[in-house]
């Protein structure tokens, strides 16, 4: 900043060399300035005496006035006052009756005072003008510096904007590439997988009587692994689809979503003792099918991880914030170690062994992706064997439209 200022100051062109010179003189040492004053008055006196000698009379006063103006202009107020005094003395000595004495006759007294007063006023006016002018010059320099600075900043903003546009374009391209990559990988992976499963089944059918126990177990493992891979591919596809899908936003009743979500867990809850505590939930603004997926995932998780309890307790409620609502799903299930809470929402991240709890580890990643697309946040709290609480926040319905407009 300071560097730019200095540059800008030196960049101001020196247009008026005469004005520059008088500035130099005014800023010069006092002897030079007062000496200049004396020289000017002496020159004016010389010219006046010479004119008088040649027979031209009454030019002394204008000449002295001129000298005073020049002195004020170039040397400042102090020297000009000196010049006024000197001119008055010279006038009284050389030009007013009686000549060659410092006495002033009564007749000349008014014109002498008139001269002194007018000289003083002239000096004062010129000094004021000088000051205004120099203020103006400083203001102009300042403005020039500011304009230069502004231009520089505008340039910078323009450059940053261009960079941003380019980045956005790059990001879009790589995003599209990534999406089409995920799409084709998932599809092309599925065909060979289907063949592995199909031919293993055929082989099992064909040779199951001649296979021993161990070989049968190998076959079974091949089939199970293939099935698991199939699930992974399906989940990955669904996950990438969420990133691409357009959100269709409307008012969504969270109460209704919870009701549907609970109904859909029916298959996994048969024969189990589950206490549902469902608090009233507000209406929010979002994509219904996506939010349903969020609710479904969280409820299914709660049901799954409370399997180890004789009586499962699942509580769903919400905390009303200032400009957002935070919904939570709390369970008394297996919980997790808070040390690994960062991994909880990662793609294919699992905090339990597959023998304990099934799943691919995509559910909470999906939840996070959807909530982020709605302009909200997710977090989790829990402890090993102490249950888990999963929170997600959503912008409130009334200001959601403008808040999410930027994130979609």
């Amino acid at each position: 900043m300071t560097i730019h200022l200095a540059e800008a100051t030196t960049a101001v062109p020196e247009r008026h060399s005469l004005a520059r010179w008088n500035l130099d003189l005014q800023n010069g040492r006092s002897p030079t300035r007062y000496g200049f004053s004396i020289v000017c008055v002496a020159v004016a006196l010389g010219v006046a005496l010479a004119s008088q000698y040649c027979g031209v009379h009454d030019v002394e006063l204008p000449l002295f006035e001129l000298a005073i103006v020049v002195i004020t202009w170039y040397a400042g107020v102090g020297p000009s006052m000196l010049a006024v005094v000197l001119s008055a003395i010279c006038y009284s000595y050389f030009f007013s009756e009686p000549l060659y004495s410092f006495e002033i006759s009564n007749e000349d007294l008014p014109s002498f005072f008139l001269f002194t007063a007018s000289a003083a006023i002239t000096a004062w006016f010129v000094a004021v003008r000088r000051r205004i002018e120099s203020d103006l010059r400083i203001a102009r320099d300042h403005l020039q510096v500011e304009v230069a600075e502004r231009e520089r900043r505008e340039d910078e903003i323009r450059k940053l904007n261009q960079e941003l546009t380019k980045r956005a374009r790059d990001l879009e391209t790589s995003n599209n590439e990534l999406e089409s990559f995920a799409y084709s990988v998932s599809h092309d992976l599925r065909a060979p997988l289907r063949h592995v499963v199909g031919y293993s089944e055929l082989l099992q059918r064909q040779a199951s009587s001649s296979l021993d126990e161990k070989s049968r177990r190998f076959m079974q493992t091949i089939l199970e692994s293939s099935k698991r891979m199939g699930n992974l591919i399906d989940d990955l596809l669904a996950f990438s689809r969420i990133g691409r899908a357009e959100t269709k936003k409307a008012l969504v009743s969270l109460d209704q979503l919870v009701k549907e979500g609970v109904a859909e867990t029916g298959q996994d809850t048969t024969g189990r003792d589950i206490v549902w505590k469902i608090h009233p939930l507000p209406v929010c603004y979002g994509d219904r099918s996506m939010l349903k997926l969020v609710m479904g995932n969280l409820l299914a998780n709660a049901v799954k991880f409370t399997r180890v309890r004789a009586q499962a307790e699942i509580e769903i409620g919400c905390v009303d914030g200032e400009d957002e609502i935070e919904v939570f799903v709390r369970d008394n299930g297996a919980g997790f170690d808070m040390q690994y809470v960062d991994k909880l929402f990662g793609v294919f991240q699992r905090l339990h062994l597959p023998e304990e709890f099934e799943g691919t580890g995509i559910g909470l990643a999906t939840v996070r992706r959807i909530i982020h697309r709605h302009g909200g946040e997710v977090r989790a709290q829990g402890g090993v064997d102490q249950g888990a609480t999963l929170y997600f926040s959503l912008p409130k319905a009334q200001d959601a439209a403008e808040r999410t407009a930027n994130t979609l």
């Binding site: 799409y183 599809h187 599925r190 289907r194 031919y199 089944e201 099935k227 199939g230 689809r241 899908a245």
Partner: protein, 151 residues
């Protein structure tokens, strides 16, 4: 292979063909199938040209169509037959790996009769193929001009 088939299976992958045929064989439908390994062959069969120029000019009762095919892809085949006066009534079932919404929308807007995603699980796959074969080749009454059910 019979030149007079009720099912036209358009599938490029020989393993998928074998698995599908295995499924159809269980319902004795294998003899009713003609396999075309790419979109061009499928159109050759439907237009009775090339290696199929000698076959009787009847339409199959159903066409099982994969989308990802060499040369002419499934959607192009579909577009072609739907714009042809003689072929446009053939029931077409898309049989694909693609879950993608855009593929479904494209297929349905081109007038497909059913869209089936090939299940990874073998039993489900076999079941799907069997049910498709039985429904379209046996239960469903095909449009006039198709190969009739064998007496």
């Amino acid at each position: 292979m019979s030149e007079l088939a009720r099912i036209l299976l358009v599938e490029d992958d020989p393993r998928d063909v074998e698995l599908s045929m295995t499924a159809l064989r269980e319902y004795n439908l294998a003899n009713e199938v003609v396999v075309a390994r790419d979109g061009e062959k499928a159109l050759d069969y439907l237009y009775c040209r090339g290696e199929f120029s000698a076959r009787p000019n009847d339409n199959p009762a159903v066409m099982l169509l994969d989308l990802k095919l060499p040369k002419v892809n499934g959607l192009e085949v579909l577009q072609q037959i739907r714009s042809d006066e003689r072929l446009k009534l053939i029931p077409v079932v898309v049989l694909t790996s693609s879950h993608e919404e855009k593929d479904m929308i494209r297929s349905y807007s081109l007038g497909v009769n059913a869209y089936v995603v090939k299940p990874v699980d073998f039993h489900e796959f076999v079941n799907a193929i069997k049910e498709l074969g039985v429904f379209w080749a046996v239960i469903n009454e095909p449009p006039p001009g198709s190969v009739k059910k064998a007496p």
